[in-house]
């Protein structure tokens, strides 16, 4: 992804954050981290609480390649380092939610295969994959999630709808984990296709 779609994503992220700020529960509880990746993952926004968070500019990718394996490995490390688990002396965080936006391709297949089982053990409340482009490749992301959405074009209005949906998912997600270990996400927006 290059050029206009990148800016659309930045605008989409701003929409996400602005709408989460309108949710009193999210405003006091949600933290957000943004990582971009091509050949290497790059954290453009470290895990930050919603109150102080500002969406930075997203750099244009300089290298081609979809190193999804490396990106997910990076996510796993971040989860280990940043998510607080409950202990007698410390209150734990809510289960994190992971949204992966990509074209579905994987250039680093070996690392990807090694990382998927690690990722699955990280206790995400939910992992959602959003595939961008016509004829998306689904078999890779399916290895780590059943929640797959796709958008044909990365135009700004579709991206905006996606992030609005992410916002409602976060609102639902951060308060309903408990007895029914399955977190039920809201239905995806009409502009997007849910891949079953």
């Amino acid at each position: 992804m290059r050029g206009e779609p990148i800016e659309a994503i930045r605008v989409g992220l701003e929409t996400l954050v602005a709408s989460l700020r309108q949710d009193p529960f999210a405003l006091e509880n949600a933290w957000l981290s943004v990582i971009t990746f091509n050949r290497t993952p790059q954290p453009i926004l470290p895990l930050t609480e919603l109150e102080t968070l500002q969406i930075p500019a997203i750099p244009q990718p300089e290298a081609a390649g979809t190193h999804l394996g490396e990106a997910l490995e990076f996510v796993c490390k971040k989860v280990d380092a940043e998510v607080t688990l409950s202990s007698p002396e410390r209150k734990g965080d809510w289960m994190p939610l992971l949204f992966v936006m990509c074209n579905g391709k994987v250039s680093d297949t070996q690392l990807f295969s090694q990382t998927v089982p690690l990722l699955k053990r990280k206790h995400f409340g939910k992992i959602v994959a959003c595939l961008v482009g016509h004829h998306p490749v689904t078999e890779n992301v399916r290895q780590f999630t059943d929640n797959i959405l796709s958008m044909d074009t990365a135009d700004s209005s579709t991206i905006k709808t996606f992030f609005e949906w992410v916002s409602t998912s976060v609102s639902v997600g951060n308060r309903s984990i408990g007895a029914t270990d399955e977190l039920v996400l809201p239905p995806p927006p009409a502009e997007m296709n849910a891949i079953i």
């Binding site: 949710d23 009193p24 405003l27 109150e51 500002q54 202990s87 209150k91 289960m95 408990g178 007895a179």
Partner: protein, 461 residues
């Protein structure tokens, strides 16, 4: 290339402006001499956009004092020019201002949103006729979360409807009982039902008190009913068992024996009688009734749809002091608070998981009755209060499992209940105050950042 272009534009602008300015001067001099003066024209100002290199201002919050370091004198444009003077457009509209002497932007933000603030500025070498430059940035002011909460009543037409709040006061024997339960803001915001419940009972024939609180799991569809069934069943079974001839005397005797001699043998006998005949029996019956309800539906559902925690306690006064027994699954807390000797006895252990909101439920059935000891008891001379709470209260007031055992936290809770809080809400625990439950319900409205779950508390005092 771009710099040249910029200069060209500037040239163009000055080419336009200079003659006007000159004309203006001539007009002025003419007006002194001429009889038909032309009306003076306001000098036209032109604007150009040029980015300033600056750090984003930190986000603010409505009604909360804002102060950010900001010094126009040290700013540079993206082309490296220094800035001579600057005005802000949009700052005052949100309750802020720039104070050059203090090098600060400060004030008290009045409106939430992503505000566009424009700096109109002049470069160091600015002279009349040169364009004024503009740079717009975003200043984020967060809303006050307190005003974002909606309070939508739960539709009375839903299955298993229950009122959004409940309270009870029981004046009895040596001590009174008060309980209150309030729907959490996160439920009220979406018009969802309260999932917590409680039950109180004092048996005038046996002098046994029973107090129960339960917290239905937020994610389970019918947990509100699970919590209700759990509380009602547990209360009824305790009541029934404790008035059965064969059981009440045996238990009373076991308690007296244990008080005389706290040997292992006496402890085990007391434990067995209390556990199998009263507490675990009541909890198991509660579980069974939930399963029955789940299966009796036209379209039967899994019992986990009724997932609930349960804290059940019975207490009775003897000549030698008070006996208190408890059975507990899930989070929340129960403690015998003794203010006089600065002590608290926690009757069990909360069930927690790795992440926030994770716990264990009565509806998990058999495993809950096998996994560990859940029946606890204690004999104390006297106590200030026996308190049962759901996690809507323990999360904000105790935060961690370790804190639940700390007397300082209990002292703070007791003072809080007695009026030491920002709203000045006081529960009057004197003997004949029939308003105690109403006061307790009002107290449950306390504000705590990020803690907006249903809250239920039952107190024997």
């Amino acid at each position: 290339m771009e710099e040249n272009k910029e200069q060209e534009i500037q040239k163009e602008v000055s080419a336009e402006e200079t003659p006007q300015a000159e004309k203006g001067e001539t007009t002025d001099s003419q007006s002194e001499n001429s009889q038909q003066p032309e009306e003076p024209k306001m000098p036209e100002i032109t604007y150009q956009t040029l980015a300033i290199l600056m750090k984003n201002l930190p986000n603010g919050k409505v009604k909360k004092e804002y102060e950010a370091e900001f010094d126009v004198a040290t700013l540079k444009t993206e082309k490296g020019n220094s800035i001579a003077s600057a005005e802000f457009e949009g700052l005052q509209a949100v309750g802020l201002d720039y104070f050059p002497e203090e090098k600060k932007i400060k004030g008290i933000p009045t409106a939430a949103g992503d505000h566009k603030i424009t700096i109109r500025y002049k470069l160091g070498d600015w002279t009349d006729g040169k364009p004024v430059l503009l740079y717009t940035f975003t200043l984020i002011i967060n809303p006050d979360p307190r005003v974002l909460w909606n309070n939508t009543p739960t539709p009375e037409t839903i299955e298993y409807y229950k009122p959004d709040s409940d309270k009870a006061f029981v004046q009895a024997g040596d001590k009174n009982m008060a309980a209150a339960s309030q729907r959490g803001r996160s439920h009220a915001h979406e018009g969802n039902s309260r999932d917590d419940d409680f039950a109180l009972h004092f048996d005038t024939k046996t002098d046994w008190y029973a107090l129960v609180v339960a917290d239905g799991a937020g994610s389970a569809k019918f947990s509100r009913e699970g919590a209700r069934i759990a509380c009602q069943t547990a209360k009824e079974i305790c009541e029934a068992q404790l008035s059965k001839d064969g059981i009440a005397e045996v238990l009373d005797l076991a308690i007296a024996e244990y008080h005389k001699d706290d040997s292992d043998k006496n402890r085990i006998e007391l434990y067995q009688s209390l556990h199998s005949e009263v507490l675990a029996k009541a909890a198991w019956s509660a579980f069974e009734n939930i399963v029955k309800e789940a299966q009796a539906k036209v379209e039967p559902v899994k019992q986990k749809e009724y997932a609930t925690t349960l804290i059940l306690s019975i207490a009775k006064k003897f000549e030698f002091g008070w006996f208190v027994g408890a059975w507990w699954v899930g989070d929340g807390g129960i403690g015998i608070y003794q203010k006089e000797n600065n002590q608290v006895e926690i009757l069990g252990e909360p069930d927690g998981g790795e992440f926030a909101g994770q716990t264990r439920f009565l509806t998990m059935g058999e495993e809950i009755f096998k996994d560990r000891q859940r029946t606890y008891f204690k004999i104390v001379k006297d106590f200030t209060a026996l308190v049962l709470m759901t996690d809507g209260i323990t999360d904000p007031k105790f935060e961690t499992d370790a804190n639940l055992k700390r007397i300082e936290k209990w002292n703070a809770l007791w003072e809080d209940l007695n009026g030491a809080n920002e709203d000045g809400v006081k529960v009057d625990f004197t003997d004949d105050n029939a308003q105690a439950a109403d006061q307790l319900l009002r107290w449950l409205d306390f504000w705590s950042k990020g803690n907006h779950d249903d809250r239920t508390i039952a107190i024997l005092y």
